[in-house]
C-alpha cells in the first residue's frame, strides 16, 4: 500500500514531442484518481510513467516516500489493466490470472486458492480452463481485472479498461471496477477519455489537456467550479453553454447579445473579480440544467432563445436553441501548447427542460436563469473569474 506522488513530471519523446509538461499530482493511499482528457493529452503517458513503462524525462515519481524513477517496472509492485486487456493468448484463464503469483514464487497451493477466490469474486469460476479467445469482451475485461488484483499490488493502474465494451456492459463494468477498487483499497489511477466514467468513478478527477493538468478536484467541484473554459466544456454532458458576453459598467448586468441579464448582489459578492471586466468581454457559461423553461410567474432573470430542435428523452427534453449572443466552445482537440483557446461553434445551445413543458421547434422560449449558477471566464486566458 502506498500513495503516489508526481512532482514536476515531464515526458519528452526522442522526436521532441512533449507529451507531459511539469505535472504535479498526489494520489492518496486507497484513492481512485481518474485522469481524463481528450486523445493525445498525455494521460496514458502519465500512467505508463507511473508503471515504469516509460522513462521519466524530468521530475520525480514517488511511491510513498520512495523515488521510483529508475526502478524497473517488475519491481514496482504495480498492477495494470490495459485497454486491450493484454491477456496471454497461449494461457487459459486460470494461468492468466495466476501468472503474476507464479512469477513471485507463491506456492502452487496458495496461488490456486487465490486464483479461485478472484475468479469467484469476478464471476469467472466457470471459464477458468478457457483460453482468452473463447471469452466474451466482458469476461476478458474481468480476467484482466482478476490478474491485476490477485497478487494484491501496492498500486493499481487502469488504462481505459472499459473502452472496448458496448454501452450497456460498460455501465455494468463501471460499477464492478468501483467495487473492486474499494475492496482492494490501494491507490489507483484510472485513465479515460470518457467524462461520464470520470465523474462516476473518481474520488478525484484530474483533467488534462496538451500535456498540462487543467484542474484536479472532486467530480462535483469540477462540475460546479471549473477552473477554465476547457474544463467547463469538457466536463458535463451536454456541455456547458458558452456565450460571448460583456459586463456592464455598473457590474449589475451581463450583456448577452441584445439581452441584459441582471446580476444579483450575491453573484457580485461571490465574484469580486468581475469588477476588473467592466465594459469588457467575458465568456459566460450556463449549464443546460440551469436553463429551465420559465413560466409566467417567474420574476428573476430570463434568457430568451429560438428553439431549433427538441429531443424528448422521456425524463427530460433537450431543447436546442439560439440567441443573438455569439456562441463559444472550448476546444476539445486543440494545439499542444495547452492554452485554453476558444473557437466559434456552429452548434446550438442546449437546455434541459421539464418534459411536461410543451416546446416545439421554431417557437421563442424563455428560460428562467439562476444567475448565481452562471460561470464567467476570461476570453483571453480562458480562466474562471472569481477573485
Amino acid at each position: 500500500m502506498a500513495s503516489i506522488s508526481l512532482e514536476g513530471v515531464a515526458k519528452v519523446y526522442p522526436n521532441g514531442f512533449e507529451a507531459v509538461k511539469g505535472l504535479d499530482l498526489e494520489i492518496a493511499d486507497g484513492e481512485l484518481m481518474v485522469v481524463v482528457g481528450p486523445s493525445g493529452c498525455g494521460k496514458t503517458t502519465v500512467l505508463r510513467m507511473v508503471a515504469g513503462l516509460e522513462h521519466v524525462s524530468a521530475g520525480l515519481v514517488r511511491f510513498g516516500e520512495e523515488v521510483v524513477n529508475d526502478l524497473p517496472s517488475r519491481e514496482r509492485d504495480v498492477a495494470m489493466v490495459f485497454q486491450n486487456y493484454a491477456l496471454y493468448p497461449q494461457m487459459n484463464v486460470a494461468d492468466n490470472i495466476g501468472f503474476g503469483l507464479r512469477m513471485r514464487k507463491v506456492s502452487k497451493q496458495e496461488a490456486g486458492r487465490r486464483v479461485k477466490q478472484a475468479a469467484q469474486a469476478l464471476g469467472l469460476a466457470e471459464v477458468l480452463d478457457r483460453r482468452p479467445g473463447q471469452l466474451s469482451g466482458g469476461q476478458r475485461q474481468r480476467v484482466a481485472m482478476g490478474r491485476a488484483i490477485v497478487r494484491e499490488p501496492s498500486i493499481f493502474l487502469m488504462d481505459e479498461p472499459l473502452s472496448n465494451l458496448d454501452a450497456k456492459l460498460r455501465v455494468q463494468m463501471r460499477a464492478e471496477v468501483a467495487r473492486v477498487q474499494r475492496r482492494i483499497g490501494v491507490a489507483t489511477i484510472y485513465v479515460t477519455h470518457d467524462q461520464t466514467e470520470a465523474m462516476t468513478l473518481g474520488h478525484r478527477v484530474a483533467v488534462m489537456r496538451g500535456g498540462l493538468l487543467q484542474q484536479c478536484d472532486t467530480p462535483q467541484i469540477l462540475y460546479d467550479r471549473p477552473a477554465n473554459l476547457f474544463v467547463a466544456g469538457f466536463i458535463g454532458s451536454p456541455a456547458m453553454n458558452l456565450f460571448e458576453g460583456a459586463i456592464a459598467t455598473d457590474v449589475e448586468t451581463v450583456v448577452l447579445g441584445s439581452q441584459r441579464i441582471p446580476l444579483t448582489a450575491s453573484v457580485q459578492a461571490a465574484r469580486p473579480g468581475l469588477k476588473r471586466y467592466t465594459d469588457q468581454p467575458v465568456v459566460v457559461g450556463i449549464r443546460p440544467e440551469d436553463l429551465p423553461a420559465a413560466n409566467g410567474s417567474d420574476s428573476g432573470a430570463v434568457l430568451q432563445g429560438d428553439v431549433e430542435l427538441v429531443e424528448a428523452l422521456g425524463s427530460e427534453q433537450l431543447v436546442h436553441f439560439r440567441t443573438d449572443a455569439r456562441m463559444i466552445r472550448a476546444e476539445a482537440l486543440d494545439s499542444a501548447d495547452g492554452a485554453a483557446g476558444t473557437e466559434l461553434s456552429a452548434d446550438a445551445n442546449v437546455a434541459r427542460v421539464d418534459p411536461r413543458h410543451s416546446v416545439s421547434s421554431g417557437e421563442r422560449i424563455s428560460f428562467a436563469l439562476a444567475t448565481e449558477r452562471i460561470e464567467f471566464f476570461d476570453p483571453h486566458t480562458g480562466l474562471a473569474i472569481w477573485n
Binding site: F82, A86, Y88, M103, R104
Partner: protein
C-alpha cells in the same frame, strides 16, 4: 448459455461460408457444379505434384531393387525382386552411419544456434531502440544477396585461423551464420506483430527479458520458429560445398559427402547410393511433417508473406 453461444459462433460462420460456396458453385455449369477454374487448378496441382513426387518415388523404388534390375531396359516403379540389401550395405559400408550421425549433430546444433541467436537478434530489432538499428538490419539483409560460393575462401581462412577446420561445431557456426539473416528477417516481422502490451504486462507481473522471450514471445511465435527450424535443418542437412571444403577427415564427413563416396572413379554403387539417399531424405521429410502445422501458419503470416 454463454458457452453455447460462444461455441456456436464459429460453427455458424463456417456453415454459412460453406453454404455460400455451394451457392456460388451451383451457378456454374459443369460436372457436379464445380467451377471450371477450380477444376483447372486441381489438374495443374496434380501435374505439379506428380512432377515433384515422382523422382522421390522412383528413388524409393530403386533403393529396393538389386543392381541388375536398376539397369534394366524396362524400368518399373514396383520392384520385381525387392531387397533391403542396399540399405544394409549403405548403412554398414563406408562408415555411413557415422556420416548420418555427424550430419544429424551438425544440423541439430545449427538449428539450436540459429533459433536462439536469431530470436535474440530479432527481438532486439523488433523491440529496442538503438543507434543505426535499421542500418544494421539492412546489412544483415544485404548478406542474403551475397552468393554463398563467394564466401567459401574467406570462410575457410577464418575457420583455419580459429582452428575450426575439420570440426563439426565449426561447420555449424558457418551454417548458422548463413541462416541468420533470413531467420532474423522472418522473426522480426513476427515479433513486431505481437502486441507490445503483452510484453509490458509480463514485465509488470515481474518477468525479466529472458522470461518474456521464453514464456511469451516463443510460444506465440511457434509458427515462425518452426519455419526457421525447418529451413535451417534442411540447409544444414543437405549442404555439400562448405562441408567438402572444411572437412576432409574421414571420421568427420557429413552425409552429403558420405553419399559421394558411393560414386567411385570407375563404378558407382547405385543401389546403396539410392538407399543412402533415402537415409538422407527421410529426416528432412519427417522434420517437415512433424512441424507442418506451425510451418504453414508461419510462412503465411510471417515476414515473408
Amino acid at each position: 448459455m454463454s458457452r453455447l453461444q460462444l461455441g456456436a459462433e464459429p460453427t455458424t460462420a463456417r456453415a454459412s461460408k460453406r453454404a455460400r460456396r455451394r451457392e456460388e458453385n451451383s451457378h456454374e455449369p459443369g460436372l457436379f457444379g464445380v467451377r471450371t477454374w477450380t477444376k483447372t487448378r486441381l489438374a495443374l496441382a496434380c501435374v505439379f505434384a506428380v512432377v515433384a513426387v515422382f523422382p522421390l518415388l522412383y528413388m524409393v523404388s530403386l533403393s529396393f531393387q538389386p543392381t541388375d534390375d536398376i539397369f534394366t531396359t524396362h524400368p518399373t516403379l514396383i520392384p520385381s525382386h525387392p531387397t533391403t540389401l542396399n540399405y544394409v550395405q549403405a548403412w554398414t559400408e563406408n562408415d555411413f552411419s557415422r556420416f548420418f550421425f555427424n550430419s544429424m549433430g551438425v544440423a541439430l546444433l545449427t538449428v539450436v544456434l540459429t533459433v536462439v541467436l536469431a530470436s535474440l537478434a530479432a527481438f532486439a530489432f523488433a523491440r529496442y531502440r538503438f543507434p543505426c538499428k535499421e542500418l544494421i538490419f539492412y546489412l544483415f539483409l544485404a548478406a542474403l544477396a551475397v552468393p554463398s560460393v563467394d564466401l567459401i575462401i574467406p570462410q575457410y581462412i577464418l575457420m583455419a585461423r580459429l582452428h575450426l577446420t575439420n570440426s563439426l561445431p565449426g561447420l555449424s557456426l558457418i551454417y548458422t551464420s548463413e541462416n541468420l539473416p533470413f531467420s532474423i528477417f522472418l522473426l522480426r516481422g513476427f515479433f513486431e506483430a505481437i502486441p507490445k502490451e503483452l510484453e509490458e504486462s509480463f514485465r509488470l507481473e515481474g518477468a525479466r527479458t529472458l522470461r518474456v522471450l521464453t514464456r511469451l514471445i516463443a510460444p506465440l511465435s511457434a509458427p515462425a520458429l518452426a519455419v526457421v527450424a525447418v529451413f535451417t535443418f534442411n540447409f544444414a542437412w543437405e549442404e555439400f560445398v562448405v562441408a567438402s571444403t572444411l572437412i576432409d577427415k574421414s571420421t568427420r564427413l557429413t552425409l552429403p559427402i558420405g553419399l559421394n563416396s558411393f560414386i567411385g572413379e570407375h563404378t558407382t554403387s547405385w543401389g546403396p547410393l539410392f538407399a543412402g539417399s533415402m537415409f538422407a531424405t527421410v529426416p528432412s521429410i519427417l522434420v517437415y511433417v512433424v512441424s507442418q502445422r506451425w510451418f504453414r501458419r508461419g510462412v503465411s503470416v510471417g515476414g515473408i508473406r
